[in-house]
Amino acid sequence: MDFLNGDEAVAYGAKLCRPHVIPVYPITPQTIVVERIADFVANKLMDCEYIHVESEHSAMCAAMGASLVGARAFTATSSQGLAYMHEMLHYVSGSRFPIVMMNANRTLAAPWNIFGDQRDSLSQRDTGWIQVYVENGQEALDMIIQAYAIAEDDRVYTPVMVNLDGFVNTHTYELVDIPEQHEVDQFLPPLRSKNAIDFNHPRSFCISAATEWNMEFRYQQYEAMENAKQVIVEVDKRFGDKFGRYYHGLVEEYRCEDAEVVLVALGSAIGTSRIVVDKLREQGLKVGLVKLRFYRPFPAEYFKALSKRVKAVGVIDRDLSFGYEGAVASDIKSALNSAGSPPKVINFIAGIAGRDITKENIEGMYHKLFNLSQGKFEKELQFTGLRW
């Protein structure tokens, strides 16, 4: 066991995957990832092309170029950097390159702030990337490895974004087990890309597609994302069988078996919520917790089924789609409503720009959910921890 912060765990995860090309640009709170990888490369512990690019947009372009020649590419960013490479996210997913990128969840300016919320990645929801949100450093390391296995699967060929909460995950030190290199090599063989240049069969890549053909390419992407739901579960099982840690696929339930009300969250807030669930359960309250691991592909079928089991659902959104509500809540409500009589939902806007989501906050959320399930009035959207 090593004592690592989340960023370091990601660096080790990337190292174990033996990427060929790592084009990066530093941005708080991802910097430690790229610094550690730079150390590995300088000390000859990693054999790869480490490219100091001039911007995050260039980083994703370079990663795409690398993937185009069949190289395994890795990069990392956050917030403004993710926004800077926005058009390239579409390019990479549309071109079907299996790139893996770590994203440190940090808020987007303005107002400028380096601390964590999920506005950056959630607002990239529609770029065609698979998105997973990890709870802690161990999961961060493990998901980098799993991300390549998912992305490079023949049925998927879709890029994967691994999200860590800024500072809370990235800079917090925890005990992390670093798998052995030879074990990871067995789990993740070298990339033999089906989508790369081949001198024996010359192809043109990233071509235009006229109106008569474009939608069929989008249908392929849609199918690949649907396939990913199955592949994610398979990779999770295969990883667990080999390394002893299972993460339960797209969604993990905590004490939901007989829950009357549940909270749904992504990332580090889950860790805090588990403690609150245990405390409330000791008081006899039937509460449960749903860890939404993958935001895309979205586990709509799970929420449709959940609809029949619980009376009220709270969704913690570390973001807000101005003009409506939290993005995660919108997607969850849509899936819940596709069943017969859906449970009531409260959308909690919380943890914005590094504002702590405390145990007291979460306890309060559960009590509001009970109010709702008992027919009392609760506003559909509530800001948690607002000053006034």
């Binding site: 549309g94 071109s95 079907r96 390159f97 060929y157 089906k194 989508n195 069969h201 010359p202 192809r203 043109s204 890549f205 990233c206 071509i207 235009s208 597609a209 053909w213 069929e216 390419f217 249908y219 392929q220």
Partner: protein
């Protein structure tokens, strides 16, 4: 130099035949592209010294030097006139299309 000939592109006939991502077999020309040419080059072989300046300078690479007499591919010549302008022997004249 093996210049690609015009071939008909085989479009996919089902989802299974679609390529993985927007890509296609390279090095094929599917249709001629000379519709905007206003003037065409006419090469007088009696004046040509085969210095190959036109071949070197042609921006579209449509001058073929594999045979004894140079040939210009009218499917792809855009009529820019660089060859005529640079020929040291004035062997190439630009003539209006339709004349």
């Amino acid at each position: 130099m093996a210049k690609p000939q015009i071939v008909k592109f085989k479009f996919p006939e089902s989802l299974k035949e679609m390529p993985l991502g927007p890509s296609a077999e390279a090095g094929i020309l599917t249709e001629p592209n000379a519709g905007w040419r206003v003037q065409r080059p006419v090469l007088d072989h009696s004046k040509c010294s085969r210095c190959l300046m036109c071949w070197v300078l042609c921006p579209e690479g449509v001058i073929d030097k594999q045979n004894e007499k140079l040939e210009i591919d009218m499917n792809y010549c855009k009529g820019c006139g660089l060859c005529a302008h640079e020929c040291p022997k004035d062997a190439i004249t630009m003539v209006n299309e339709g004349e």
